[in-house]
Point group: C2
């Protein structure tokens, strides 16, 4: 049984705690939190401490706090010969300044408090300084997810920006679609099957193979007509993305 | 039984023919095609003609050819008191120049030849000049899809450009994500669960509620760091979309 201490009390911290409590390989022996314990920790009787000097002896310490705070927070940890990891996509492993072994345990998903999630299909990207630590992280990751990858710090920051494109920016295009519908009294639900199909398509085709539409066909007449239907901001985005598709 | 003639031999024509053949309310009595009959028409013994003057007497004529060709093609149809519709998102109903009643039967989906599709969950957007014709279209649409909407020509062109955003442009962002992965020897599969989750999220949240990420948080430090990881073209797109998210 791998003994884990979770440092943090946000979405990722709570969701990871829940996943480890359910797993048969791991146990969460303590949560460190500056605020009061989460209802979940109370319900499951997981000891919570506000004091770093009271951290228990564990096999793995997982820092799950906001990206900006990780480096400074890790300075305060005196856990020599212990393994300390963070869960961030945008922070390098060596930004950890704990007096300890270092690693990364990065679940690549947009995790919100309200929505129930299962880690089973969430990719977990691992990095460690040495093989022993890597194996421990791998066991822990495999206990909650079927999708475990080795990703170094350089790859991880690239992966994180790629995720911004396929998640945040894609969602913004959904918003523009929604705005156009709302402005014309069209039910946005009409577009949802297409949105789903677009996401499904790339499980069997590459995005280049999956591409269709006026830009792909270089159909200048339709492009001109469509530009006239849009407001300034939408036009700018339409033009930039159309040009980029045309270049390919 | 509603008797349908399909005019065209492309993806939409063939997929619609298949759907009507399976439905219990409709029968495809003839296909008009300039090229040779599709293997499907041959297999199902659906009569095919190359001559417009040989069109059979039917309740509904569906033009399923490329958008640009619809208007000119429809001029050649002498089908007085008959109902002629097209299947295009970007062509107005009154662009039909057939000597006939007019309407639109627009299935909103990206339809490709290779991929097997079911119309059951594909929204079909209908328009007609009079109530009787609309009811006929509604019966036909309900026989193959659970999602039938009334959409006029002005709404339809807006819907079509919204579809370009949530389908073609979204797919292009998937491509950029794929490029970033390929350039850094990262398996694109890592991003696929996130892509699916992003598409799923908006079935329960509005795109505005679903938004996360550095632009939404106005996290200038991360935005600056991420820009440095991108090539010129990717930077342009990153900046435009980030600004647009910040404005909201």
């Amino acid at each position: 049984m791998t003994r884990i201490v979770i440092l943090g009390n946000g979405n990722v911290a709570i969701q990871l705690t829940k996943a480890f409590v359910k797993s048969k390989e791991c146990t969460v022996i303590q949560v460190y939190s500056r605020s009061k314990p989460s209802p979940y920790s109370l319900k499951k009787n997981i000891p919570t401490t506000h004091h770093l000097e009271q951290l228990k002896d564990a096999d793995l310490y997982i820092i799950a706090i906001s990206d900006d705070a990780i480096s400074d927070f890790s300075k305060k940890l005196i856990l020599k010969n212990k393994l300390v990891v963070h869960t961030s996509g945008s922070v390098a492993m060596n930004d950890l300044q704990s007096n300890s072994n270092k690693g990364v345990f990065y679940p690549l998903q947009s995790i919100s408090k309200s929505k129930k999630i299962s880690f089973k299909n969430i990719p977990i990207c691992l990095e460690a300084e040495n093989e022993n630590d890597y194996q421990l992280l791998q066991r822990v990751a495999n206990s909650i997810s079927k999708k475990v990858y080795t990703i170094n710090s350089n790859q991880r920051k690239k992966l994180h920006v790629a995720a911004v494109f396929v998640n945040n920016f894609v969602n913004h295009l959904y918003k523009i679609g929604n705005d156009i519908c709302a402005d014309n009294e069209i039910d946005f639900d009409i577009l949802k099957p297409l949105i789903k199909e677009t996401a499904n398509k790339i499980t069997t085709l590459s995005p280049t193979e999956a591409q269709t539409g006026p830009a792909k066909r270089n159909d200048k007449k339709t492009i001109e007509k469509q530009l006239q239907l849009l407001n300034n901001e939408q036009q700018t985005i339409y033009k930039i993305l159309t040009e980029s598709i045309l270049k390919n």
